[in-house]
Each structure stands twice: as C-alpha cells, then as structure tokens.
Symmetry: C2
Amino acid sequence: MPTATPIDASADQLAAVTYNSDGLVAAIVQEHGTKDILMMAWMNADTLAETLESGRTVFWSRSRQERWAKGDTSGDRQWVREAYYDCDGDTLLFVVEQEGAGACHTGAKTCFYRSFGSGEPT
Amino acid sequence: MPTATPIDASADQLAAVTYNSDGLVAAIVQEHGTKDILMMAWMNADTLAETLESGRTVFWSRSRQERWAKGDTSGDRQWVREAYYDCDGDTLLFVVEQEGAGACHTGAKTCFYRSFGSGEPT
C-alpha cells in the first residue's frame, strides 16, 4: 500500500492561495509517473490543509456541500507526492499515486475518457 | 511553425459540456509530449467552439470579461492536438503544442512553478 507523505506548507505558501466567492479553489489531479490527468475537483481552505497534512486528497463537494476524502467509499485513494499552486493562486495541482482502478466514479481510470471529434478516446 | 488541426466536434459532444452560472467551463492545458500541465483557464461556449474550429486555444477572461486568444499578445500560441471533456462535462482538457517560451504570463513554462513544502519547484 502506498504510504502517506505529509507536506509541510509554509504560511506564505498557503496565503498565496486565492479562493473564489464560494471559498473554493480548483484542484487538478495528475498521476505520478504516467502524468495522466485523472480529475479536477474543488477544495476549500480546510480540505486543502487536510490534504497536505494527511497526504491524501480531500475535496469539497459543491453538489452535496460536504467534505469528501477521495477513496473513502471506493477505496481508490490518492496519495500526494507533489503539490503546486499556480501563478495567481487560484488553481492547485496534485501529483498522486492513484490506488485501485482509477479516479473516476464511472470506473474509468481518468475522468477525461471522452474526446471531442472522431478520434478514439484514450 | 506548428499547424492548426481543427477538431470537428459533434453536437452530442458539445451538448455534454456543462457551464457554471457564469456560463463558463474550466479548461486544463497539458503539453503534448512532456504531459506537463501548463495552465488552467476558462472558456464559454463561443470560445470553446472557436478553439475547436481554429485549432488554437481561446479563453474567456473573467477579470476583463473578454475573449482572449492565447498568444495573440505574447506569441506563445497553443496548438490543439487532442481535446477531452470529463465525466460530468464541467472540465475540459486540451493537449497542445506550446509555441514560444511557455504558457505563463510570468515567463515560466508552466503556471504551476511553485510547490507547497520545502521541495524545489520544478
């Protein structure tokens, strides 16, 4: 089983994160190694802190208005290996080891399994 | 110079895209080849259509409330090679050839040049 690697973010780093009017910041999740983009979800300040401290991705569900820790239901947990924030602080990037079948609730490895155009999805 | 490769999206594919209350959808941009994540920005239905038809990324600026075609000012254009939409249609993924120095307005290759923790940024 992958192990948790907490990230000790500085106060300055956390202060650089900007939240939208709902108190949320977008979080992209990329698979370590393959660099496949697995999913995008949202965090608030609390779930960002929990993600960094616990070493597992934890999000905020806009539809359910509640915290959710990725994999608590499915077992498909995501173990954070690297975490970044972008130039204007309103998007985060987590590089993770994905446990289980994948990141998508459909059972697909990635949520981005459908492509525009006539090309085959990856 | 890279060439434009328009993507002929079907009506069903475009109808699967869902927009937020501002009429916007999040668009992740990943570099073809390296699979580095370059940036995240927003599109409305018009700039998504223009992106697919022109083969270059075109976004909607929330701060300026106007259309912007990536690279029109900087020359750092992005040429779309693959385009995906996620399981619930509210996030897009564009795999692009990045022209010029990079995607970030700071001059960095990627907007995600700062990491949480004491690790070195990539």
